[in-house]
C-alpha cells in the first residue's frame, strides 16, 4: 500500500511541477503577483510528494519488502540496517530518486526564502527548477522506476554490491548530489535573469550563498569519495583520474570559478555575462557527470546499469538543457549592461586570471575525459587517457594559479599595486623557501619536485593567514587589540582565508606522496615485510563469519625502526549471496601519515600476499579539503550573505556591533 502511494506521489509531483513551470513564468510575464505566488506553494508541494515517495522506498528497504523489484535487486534481509538505509541510494533507481529529492529540497528552500529574493526573480527561478524536475521525474518514471513490483515476491533479495557496503557509501552520494544539484539553483537563477533580461549586484548577492553551499558540499563529496576509493579499493591510491572522478571534478573547477566571479560581480558589478555563462556551464557539467555515470558509457564501480534507453534519455535531457540555455544565453546576453571598470593589476584582474586558469584546467579535464569516448565512436579505436595525460596538462595550469593565489588575495580592488602587494608577502616567500630547503636537506631521495610542492603548500597556507595578520596587526599594536580586530573581520574574510589555507594543506599532502614507500611479499606466519622505516609482521590469519559475509582476517604487528607501534587487521572477504570477494585494507594512522596493508591471495599453506605502504602526511589531502569546505561554511554564516539579510537594515548604525 505504502509503496503504491509512494509511486503515486511521484506522478503527482510531476503534475505539480508542470503547474510550477507554467504558472509562475506566466505570472512573471504578466506582472501578476497572485500567479507568481503559485510558485512557492507548488515548490513546497513537490518537495512534500517526493519526500513521501523517498520515505516509502526507504520503508520498503527497511522492512525488506521483496515485492519491490529494486529491493530484491539490492537488498538482503540479513544486511545490517545501515546498509539497508544506504542501499536505498546504492543503486541506479534509488540514487536518481535521491537526486530529485535534493532538487526538490532546494526548490522548497528557494520557495521559503521569499523575503530575500525579489518576487519576479523567485518566480522565474522556480519555473526553471520545475523544468529540471519535470525532466528527471519523467526519466525516473519511464526508464528507472524504483517502484516496479514483482509478483510473486521472491523470498530473498540479491544483496547490495559488497563494494558499496561501506559507511563511505552512506555519506558520499548525498554529499556529492547536494553539490551537483545545488549548482542547479545557480543555473536556475542565471536562466531566470536571462529571461528577465536584468542582472545586477543584487542577483550576485542572492546567488552567492547557493553557489557557496553547493561548492562546499561538492568539496566534501569529492573528498569523501576519494577517501572511500583509497581504503575500499585496496590499491592505496586516492585519485585515479577515472572518468567518474573527473565527472565530479569538472563541476567543482567550474563552480570554484563561478564562486570567484560572483564575488567580482557583487562587489564591482562587472563580469556579468561571464558569470551567467559560468553558472550555465557549471550545471551543464553536473548534468554531463550524471550522464557519464548513469548512462553506462563508462565502466566503473559507480555505473550501476548499462541500458541504452536510459543513456539516450539522459542524453536528451542534457542536450535540451545545455543547448537550450546556451541558445538563450546567446540571444539575451548582449542585452545585459556592462558594469564597473578595473585595471588589469587589481583584485578583479586577479580573479579574472583565476577564472581563466580554472576554466582552462576544467577544459583539459573535459577533453581528457571525452576524447576516448569520441575516438571510440568515430574510429572504433579504444584508448585510455590516464594519469600521465592529466599530470601533464592539468598541473601546469593549476600551479601558476596557486602561485598567484596569495598575491591576488592581497591586491586591492579596482587598482592594485603589484610591488606593494609583493612586499607584504616577503615574510611568506622567505618562510616557504626555507620550508622547501629544509625538505631538500632532510629528505634526501624522492623527486626534486616534492620539496617544491611542500614549499608551495606552505606558501599558500602562510599567504592566506598573512591576510588576517596584515589586516589586524601592524608594528606596535598590542596583541589584545590585534586579536579583537582579527575577530571583528568579516566572516567572509575568514572563510576565504580558511578555504585558501585548505588548498595549501591539500597541496602539502599531495607533494608528500612522493616520499611514500611500499613493499610487496608473500608472508608466512611470523615473517616481516619492510617499507622504508616501517615493518609489518604477520601474526596470524583467522577466519571469521558475519551476517552476510565471511572473511579471512590477517593480523599484523606494525613496527617502526624495530619499535612496535601496534596491530592492524586486514581482511579478505567473501560476500555469500553474490559470491563476490573483496579486500578490506588495514590502515593505521601515525601522525598525519598512514600505514596501509592490503592483502592478496591467502594460500593453502597459510601464507599471504601482502602489500605494505607507508604514506607520510597523506591525511592532509582530505584534511585540506575539509578545511576548504569549512571555509565555505564560515563564509556562509556571514550575516551579509545570509538569506534573510535585509533584516539588518533596521539595526541602528550607531549601536555598537558585537564581535561576531
Amino acid at each position: 500500500m505504502l509503496v503504491e502511494a509512494g509511486h503515486f506521489a511521484l506522478t503527482l509531483a510531476l503534475g505539480l511541477s508542470l503547474i510550477q513551470f507554467v504558472v509562475p513564468l506566466w505570472g512573471a510575464r504578466a506582472n501578476d503577483p497572485v500567479l507568481m505566488s503559485v510558485g512557492p506553494v507548488t515548490g513546497m508541494a513537490v518537495f512534500t510528494c517526493i519526500s513521501f515517495a523517498f520515505l516509502a522506498l526507504t520503508i520498503a528497504y527497511v522492512t525488506s519488502d521483496f515485492s519491490v523489484m529494486n529491493v530484491v535487486e539490492n537488498s538482503h534481509s540479513a544486511k545490517p540496517l545501515i546498509y539497508k538505509l544506504s542501499g536505498v541510494w546504492g543503486n541506479h533507481e534509488g540514487s536518481m530518486l535521491l537526486w530529485i529529492l535534493i532538487l526538490a529540497l532546494f526548490g522548497a528552500v528557494v520557495a521559503l526564502a521569499k523575503n530575500s529574493i525579489p518576487q519576479r526573480l523567485q518566480a522565474n527561478t522556480l519555473a526553471v527548477q520545475a523544468a529540471i524536475t519535470i525532466a528527471f521525474l519523467l526519466f525516473i518514471l519511464i526508464t528507472s522506476n524504483p517502484f516496479t513490483r514483482v509478483i510473486p515476491a521472491p523470498a530473498e533479495g540479491q544483496d547490495l554490491n559488497p563494494l558499496l557496503q561501506d559507511p563511505g557509501l552512506a555519506i558520499h552520494p548525498p554529499l556529492l548530489y547536494i553539490g551537483y544539484v545545488g549548482f542547479s539553483i545557480s543555473f536556475a537563477f542565471a536562466i531566470a535573469a536571462l529571461i528577465d533580461g536584468r542582472i545586477d549586484a543584487v542577483w550576485a548577492r542572492i546567488v552567492r550563498p547557493w553557489t557557496l553551499g553547493a561548492w562546499a558540499f561538492l568539496t566534501l563529496g569529492i573528498a569523501m569519495g576519494s577517501y572511500w576509493a583509497y581504503y575500499e579499493l585496496g590499491w592505496g591510491g586516492w585519485w585515479f583520474w577515472d572518468p567518474v572522478e573527473n565527472a565530479s571534478l569538472m563541476p567543482w573547477l567550474a563552480g570554484t570559478a563561478l564562486l570567484h566571479s560572483t564575488v567580482v560581480m557583487e562587489k564591482r558589478d562587472a563580469l556579468k555575462v561571464w558569470t551567467v555563462l559560468l553558472a550555465i556551464l557549471t550545471f551543464s557539467l553536473s548534468l554531463l557527470g550524471t550522464f557519464l555515470v548513469r548512462s553506462g558509457v563508462l565502466t566503473s564501480v559507480h555505473s550501476f546499469a548499462v541500458d541504452p534507453e536510459r543513456g539516450s534519455f539522459i542524453l536528451g535531457i542534457l542536450i535540451f538543457f545545455i543547448g537550450g540555455s546556451l541558445a538563450l544565453f546567446a540571444w539575451r546576453a548582449p542585452m545585459l549592461k556592462q558594469g564597473g571598470l578595473f585595471a588589469p593589476v587589481s583584485r578583479e584582474g586577479a580573479l579574472v586570471l583565476n577564472n581563466l586558469f580554472l576554466a582552462t584546467a576544467c577544459a583539459t579535464v573535459l577533453i581528457g575525459t571525452l576524447y576516448p569516448l569520441a575516438l571510440e565512436v568515430l574510429t572504433g579505436e579504444k584508448i585510455s587517457v590516464g594519469a600521465p595525460f592529466f599530470n601533464f596538462t592539468f598541473l601546469p595550469l593549476i600551479v601558476p594559479l596557486l602561485l598567484l593565489l596569495p598575491l591576488g588575495q592581497t591586491l586591492a580592488w579596482k587598482r592594485g599595486n603589484f610591488l606593494g602587494t609583493a612586499q607584504r608577502l616577503y615574510a611568506v616567500f622567505g618562510l616557504s623557501l626555507l620550508a622547501a630547503m629544509a625538505m631538500f636537506a632532510f629528505e634526501y631521495g624522492g623527486p626534486a619536485a616534492a620539496p617544491l610542492g611542500i614549499g608551495l603548500g606552505v606558501y599558500l597556507v602562510l599567504g592566506s593567514l598573512n591576510e588576517i595578520v596584515t589586516r589586524s596587526w601592524s608594528r606596535g599594536t598590542p596583541l589584545a587589540v590585534a586579536w579583537r580586530k582579527a575577530a571583528n573581520l568579516p566572516r567572509s574574510t575568514w572563510g576565504t582565508v580558511l578555504a585558501h589555507a585548505g588548498v595549501g594543506l591539500t597541496v602539502i599532502g599531495i607533494a608528500a606522496t612522493a616520499w611514500g614507500v611500499e613493499g610487496l611479499a608473500t608472508l608466512k606466519l611470523g615473517e616481516r615485510l619492510k617499507a622504508g622505516d616501517y615493518e609489518a609482521r604477520l601474526e596470524r590469519v583467522i577466519p571469521r563469519v558475519e551476517a552476510n559475509y565471511r572473511e579471512d582476517v590477517a593480523v599484523f604487528t606494525i613496527l617502526r625502526q624495530g619499535q612496535v607501534l601496534g596491530t592492524l587487521e586486514s581482511m579478505k572477504r567473501l560476500y555469500v549471496t553474490r559470491g563476490m570477494p573483496t579486500t578490506e585494507a588495514g590502515i593505521m594512522t601515525v601522525g598525519l601519515g598512514q600505514v596501509y596493508v592490503s592483502l592478496g591471495e591467502v594460500e593453502a599453506d597459510g601464507s599471504v600476499g601482502v602489500r605494505l605502504y607507508h604514506k607520510p602526511l597523506v591525511l592532509l589531502i582530505w584534511i585540506g579539503a575539509l578545511v576548504m569546505a569549512l571555509g565555505g561554511g564560515v563564509s556562509l554564516t556571514d550575516r551579509r550573505l545570509r538569506i534573510g539579510a535585509p533584516a539588518r537594515a533596521k539595526v541602528s548604525p550607531a549601536a555598537p556591533v558585537p564581535a561576531e
Binding site: 502511494a5 503515486f8 503547474i19 501578476d32 497572485v34 525579489p118
Partner: protein, 368 residues
C-alpha cells in the same frame, strides 16, 4: 478500493495546494518594499558601519558609498516603470485559467502515468487473504534465510542442503537447488534417492533435457538401488531423447510392471509409453500438459522454417536441435545440426556452440 480513496485524497490535496494561493484576492505585492532599493540602502549603511569600526579608510568608504548611491538611483528608476498588475478583469481571467489548468493537469497526468506504470491491482485482494498469504510467505522466507545463514557458516552441513533444496525448487530457484543437492551428495554421501533427486533438478535446470551429466548421476543411482523408480524413469527418458526408442519402450514397460498398483508415477510413464506407440494409456489424463504435442511440434517447425529461410544465431540453432531431441526426433536433430554447421560455417564460435550442443545430446557418438 482503499488504495483508490487514498490516491484520490492525495490528488485532491495537491490540487488544493495550487488553488489556495490563487484564491487570495488581496494584492499582496503592493505592500512589499522593493528589494532592489532596500538592498542598496542596506549596503550604504553597512559601509558606514565598516568605517566606524575602522575596517575601511574614510576615503575608501566615501568612494564606495558614492557608487552604491548611484546604483540605488538606477534601481529606483527601473522599478518605478513596471507596476504590479494584480487587480482588474485580465487578472481575474488569468486566475481562472490557472485554476482550470491545475484542476485538469494534475489529476490527468498523475492518474495516466500511474495507470501506465503503477500496480494498484496488487492491493485489490481482500486484506485478510493477503495478510495470510504474506504471512505464509514471511514464514517460508524467514525459514529459508535462516537456513541460508546457517549454511553460510556451516557449508559442510549436508542435511541442511538437503532440506533447503526442495524449497528452492518450489521457489523456482532451480540453479540453487542443483547446487544444494550437489552439496548434499558431497557431504552426506551418495544414496539412490539423493542421486535421483540431484539428477532430477539437473533435468529441470535444462528444461527437461537429460544431459549426459545427469544420465551419469541416474546410472549411479540405479547401481545403488536397482529399484529406484525415479532414476529408471529418467534413464528411459534419456534413451528416448537419444533416439533409442526400443530401449526406451522396454525400460518404461519394465518400470510399469515392477511398480506397485496406483504408484503416483504410473500415469506419467504410461503416457510416455503411449506417445512412443506402445500400449494404450489407461485413464487419468488430468496431469497431461496443457500445451499439446501438436502445439509444440508447430512451434518447433516454425523455428525450423525461420532458421532455414532467414538464418539465425548459433543459440537459435542450438535451441532447435535441443527441441528435436526433447521431442525424441533424433534424426531431425542430427539433420538440424548438420544444416547449422553449414549455415554457420564462417562462424568459429557458432560452430563450437553447435558442437557443444551435439556432444551434450550425444548426437555424435550414437550415430550409426
Amino acid at each position: 478500493m482503499v488504495i483508490w480513496i487514498i490516491l484520490l485524497l492525495m490528488t485532491a490535496a495537491a490540487v488544493m495546494a495550487v488553488l489556495w494561493p490563487l484564491s487570495r484576492h488581496r494584492a499582496l505585492a503592493a505592500q512589499q518594499v522593493d528589494p532592489d532599493t532596500q538592498f542598496y540602502r542596506e549596503q550604504i549603511s553597512e559601509i558606514e558601519r565598516d568605517r566606524e569600526r575602522g575596517v575601511l579608510l574614510p576615503s575608501e568608504a566615501e568612494a564606495a558609498k558614492a557608487e552604491a548611491g548611484r546604483r540605488l538611483l538606477r534601481a529606483t528608476g527601473a522599478t518605478a516603470a513596471d507596476a504590479f498588475a494584480a487587480v482588474g478583469e485580465p487578472a481575474l481571467r488569468r486566475r481562472r485559467a490557472a485554476s482550470t489548468l491545475a484542476l485538469s493537469v494534475i489529476p490527468i497526468i498523475a492518474l495516466a502515468l500511474y495507470g501506465a506504470y503503477g500496480s494498484p491491482h496488487l492491493l485489490t485482494h481482500p486484506p485478510e487473504q493477503q495478510a495470510q498469504a504474506s504471512g505464509d510467505k514471511m514464514d517460508l522466507m524467514a525459514a529459508v534465510s535462516q537456513i541460508e545463514a546457517h549454511l553460510a557458516q556451516n557449508p559442510q552441513d549436508g542435511r541442511g542442503w538437503e532440506v533447503v533444496a526442495p524449497v528452492y525448487i518450489r521457489m523456482g530457484r532451480i540453479d540453487d537447488a542443483v547446487k544444494a543437492y550437489e552439496s548434499a551428495v558431497r557431504y552426506l554421501g551418495a544414496s539412490a534417492d539423493r542421486l535421483a533427486n540431484y539428477g532430477e533438478v539437473m533435468v529441470l535446470a535444462k528444461d527437461g533435457l537429460v544431459s549426459s551429466e545427469a544420465q551419469k548421476v541416474f546410472e549411479q543411482a540405479v547401481q545403488l538401488n536397482k529399484a529406484s523408480p525415479k532414476a529408471r524413469y529418467y534413464l528411459a527418458v534419456a534413451a528416448e531423447q537419444d533416439g533409442q526408442i526400443e530401449k526406451a519402450k522396454q525400460a518404461y514397460g519394465e518400470l510399469l510392471s515392477s511398480s506397485p498398483e496406483g504408484a503416483p508415477w504410473g500415469d506419467v510413464v504410461r503416457q510416455r509409453l503411449a506417445s512412443l506407440g506402445g500400449e494404450q494409456p489407461v485413464a487419468g489424463q488430468e496431469d497431461a500438459p496443457q500445451i499439446g504435442a501438436a502445439d509444440i511440434a508447430r512451434m518447433v517447425s516454425g523455428l525450423a522454417e525461420r532458421l532455414e529461410t532467414q538464418g539465425g544465431s548459433p543459440e537459435e540453432w542450438a535451441r532447435l536441435i535441443r527441441s528435436y531431441a526433447v521431442l525424441g526426433q533424433r534424426d531431425k536433430a542430427v539433420a538440424a545440426a548438420e544444416r547449422a554447421r553449414q549455415a554457420l560455417a564462417q562462424n568459429d564460435a557458432g560452430l563450437k556452440t553447435i558442437d557443444a550442443m551435439a556432444r551434450e545430446l550425444k548426437l555424435t557418438d550414437a550415430a550409426p
